[in-house]
Symmetry: C2
Subunit: 495 residues, 2 copies
């Protein structure tokens, strides 16, 4: 059995399907329990592979016949070497929590799950440097370093099931990016099995190392298309001793940016989140039961809201800074805010966060959502939301019959806007009105069509809106250099 | 005129020397004032090129006949395209402040100086994102963002003459790395002229952009061997409002690490430096007039010293944290420190820093220094210094006739040790005793033979002590992919 499928360089190439002789070979590498296959003689029912073949949103569906669950880097290397010799395509799979279809097969590629590679290799409580197998779950690592007063530099909604290897492969952003920066800074080393089976060991535990090209950077965000990350060395920051938050109501969007400047200056190193919610998003959150934290008086006349979080080393200092900030904001001659609500205890702290995080749930309750995760200059957040709404209006698509709401929320501090369009139903007409309109709009600001979710299988066709021809050409050259056979996660990132 | 010289892949290849016809062509690209050449008809005296042909230490000497000083990216592209067609090798040059001979020619390569590309392209005071030509001087950029309450994420001794493009090309570390992380995190975008003249424009101003491979990372730390960086987009942090420091005297080296843990936990987000000085280094600093800050009583019984700096948003909070830290350290049942001296005013602040920074000057006054800039695990700082001293002793080289002192100081927080060996004179015997001994010692800890200075022309032969064969092989493949002719800064990074 074999087929032709499109591969990254645009040529058609033969990939082999996994056959009985391959399974025999895999048995020489792995114990029987680490091989799940519908191929004879194991002949598992295909339903057993469903959790590997489908993504958690139920949007992407592969038809892999075989899942391998290696325990060691050498096993991964042996598997990949065999696949290279046999032209078998591979999908590396972590927690399978991605949003763009990057971790499930397009066809019947072999799935290599890292789930059994879940051991912490070392942790140095002095430097905070953690070395862990790629299959370690993010929450487990958070729990591992907590007793040493450290935290992981990233935090995500999916932390209970996503793998650190997948986080690195997708350059996950998440809630701590404003404070701790991107994984390009906090990942110190990687161990990667290259598409020919070679083990590239760059698993240093050094904060500084200027000895030649920093090759590991290429695998951060490559979504498994250049090799399989098998282990990660990461710098973990010290735990903050205290966290506080406040919700601010603003009379105009134009106040968001001066407010951000003021807050950055006054809170300085303890600022850990600056989240924006427009009025439409807020009203929906309230409508669907997420807005209990604020009174009617608080929200009266507010065009939008900002959630500010602090994380610092001493509670009383942080509270004093936050109180002083609020006082100076409210007592200013031309106040940037109408009002501010400061959390007084852990329950209120969670309640304020729930208002921001509840927007996602409110949106899904309100209707069918077209979601765009974009990076654009901070100053253009409102322009993009307004332009999208006006565009839909000009097409006669605004109203209860089609698009009910256009709203924006997101991470001001990261320049990351979640643009949501809520419709009564998914229709081709709305889809056609939105794309390529939104992508072109983002491109006009030199923005990114994928701030943190990646390209995966979903956005390969739209890559050119955020990357120019020269950049895409060089991405293809890099892909061809590392993976000349095109067997590593084909059809992801590059078409 | 032409010669064979060794190029990165190990083959011998023909590079052309710059001739009169090349100068004619460069005149079609650049105004006359931007072309400095000893070739007829300009026929400048070669002394005029000395500042470009020699590094500031006077250790490396090139024999370039021509220096070009383009003003625009397009000019750089036109120059490189011509050189590629003519097989002329190029050395990109920034402030020429490097320590490893990376920015001067080995022979008569063409020098492309970025000094005329010195314009700030944009600065967004809200996000703190700065876009600047590669030739902007670091201090100028610091001055540029200061009125907006921002600072550059790096600071170096050479800030008055080094260029931001050179900082990025060498992945400069410097004094702020502990706090603001490496340039791999804070550089958001680059514009690079590739070795065939193509302009790779990845000059985004986005904090988050997960649209494919992060190619720009390859140029950070490539020391100009993969292309010429012509512009940089960098995230600048908000200025701290207050800085304080304290010197702590420790009875044993073994206390450094528990002290670092304690200080990290108590000072948390305001800790901005944790610098180590061993007793030998301290005594030399005193001997050469740098040690006025401490009394005899303070240093009595001290095996080593630590300088702690804080940078925070509010002076009184920072001082309270620092005072509480000192109190808890001194009142502990088994104190980690003998004593601590806290700066009370800006003059004392500078005085304490001078003690640490004065070690460099004291070393140069004391004798001829063999300097190693290495990364190793924090716990092994003393072992490496001691092992080096014992090794020299075993060779009969310790004493006034040969090696007078072996000492260590550096950035504990970054795992970066400056190992200095001070001798009466530079001799081959000492050199042979030190190398490969020191490199092998570093390798035994999986350390880095160049923490922040790079490889340049100086350490290409020693690269294998910090990078394994697979890594070096892949570096060569990357070099061959971007620069198949090998014309870009030949003989640097890779032999």
């Amino acid at each position: 059995m074999s087929r032709f499928i499109r591969h990254c360089t645009g040529w058609r190439r033969l990939y082999s399907s996994v056959g009985a002789s391959d399974i025999d070979h895999f048995k020489s590498i792995l114990p029987p329990a680490a091989i799940l296959s519908t191929v004879s003689p194991s002949a598992l029912p295909s339903a057993e592979l469903d959790p590997y073949n489908n993504d958690w949103m139920g949007k992407y569906h592969g038809s892999a016949t075989t899942v391998l669950r290696p325990k060691t880097t050498q096993q991964v290397s042996d598997i990949v070497r065999w696949c290279a010799s046999r032209n078998i395509a591979i999908v590396p799979q972590g927690g399978n929590t991605g949003l763009v279809g990057g971790s499930v097969p397009l066809h019947d590629e072999l799935i290599v799950s890292l789930a059994n590679m879940n051991t912490v290799r070392s942790f140095d409580p002095v430097s905070g440097i953690l070395v862990a197998d790629a299959g370690c779950i993010l929450q487990s690592l958070t729990d591992y370093v907590a007793p040493h007063n450290h935290i992981m530099p990233i935090d995500l909604g999916a932390k209970g099931s996503c793998h650190i290897g997948g986080n690195v492969a997708t350059n996950a952003g998440g809630l701590r990016l404003l404070r701790y920066g991107s994984l390009h800074g906090s990942v110190l080393g990687l161990e990667v099995v290259l598409p020919d089976g070679t083990i590239l060991d760059q698993l240093t535990t050094l904060r500084k190392d200027n000895t030649g090209y920093d090759l590991k950077q290429l695998f951060i965000g490559a979504e498994g298309t250049l090799g399989i990350i098998t282990a990660v060395s990461v710098l973990t920051p010290p735990s903050p001793q205290a966290s506080n938050n406040v919700i601010l109501a603003l009379p105009h969007f134009d106040n968001v940016l001066p407010l951000y400047k003021t807050v950055k200056r006054q809170l300085s190193e303890i600022l850990s989140a600056f989240e924006f919610i427009d009025r439409t998003a807020y009203d929906l959150a309230v409508k669907h039961g997420q807005g209990r934290a604020l009174s009617d008086e608080d929200v009266d006349g507010a065009a939008c809201f900002v959630l500010v979080e602090t994380s610092g080393g001493r509670r009383e200092h942080d509270e004093e800074k936050l109180t002083d900030l609020l006082t100076s904001l409210l007592e200013a001659d031309s106040p940037l805010i109408n009002t501010g609500v400061l959390s007084q205890n852990p329950a209120q702290f969670s309640s304020l966060w729930a208002l921001r995080e509840g927007v996602t749930e409110a949106v899904s309750k309100e209707g069918k959502a077209y979601k765009y995760d974009i990076s654009i200059p901070l100053a253009s957040f409102k322009d993009v939301v307004d332009a999208t709404r006006e565009h839909l209006r000009s097409k006669g698509l605004l109203g209860d019959h089609a698009v009910k709401h256009v709203l924006g929320y997101g991470h001001v501090g990261d320049g990351n806007l979640h643009l949501n369009i809520i419709a009564a139903a998914y229709t081709q007409e709305i889809q056609d009105a939105l794309e390529p309109f939104v992508y072109e709009l983002v491109a006009s600001y030199r923005g990114s069509i994928s701030a943190e979710h990646g390209i995966g299988a979903m956005k390969t066709h739209a890559l050119h809106y955020s990357k120019n021809d020269v950049s895409i050409e060089w991405m293809k050259k890099i892909k061809a250099l590392f993976d000349p056979l095109g067997i590593m996660n084909p059809g992801k990132v590059l078409e």
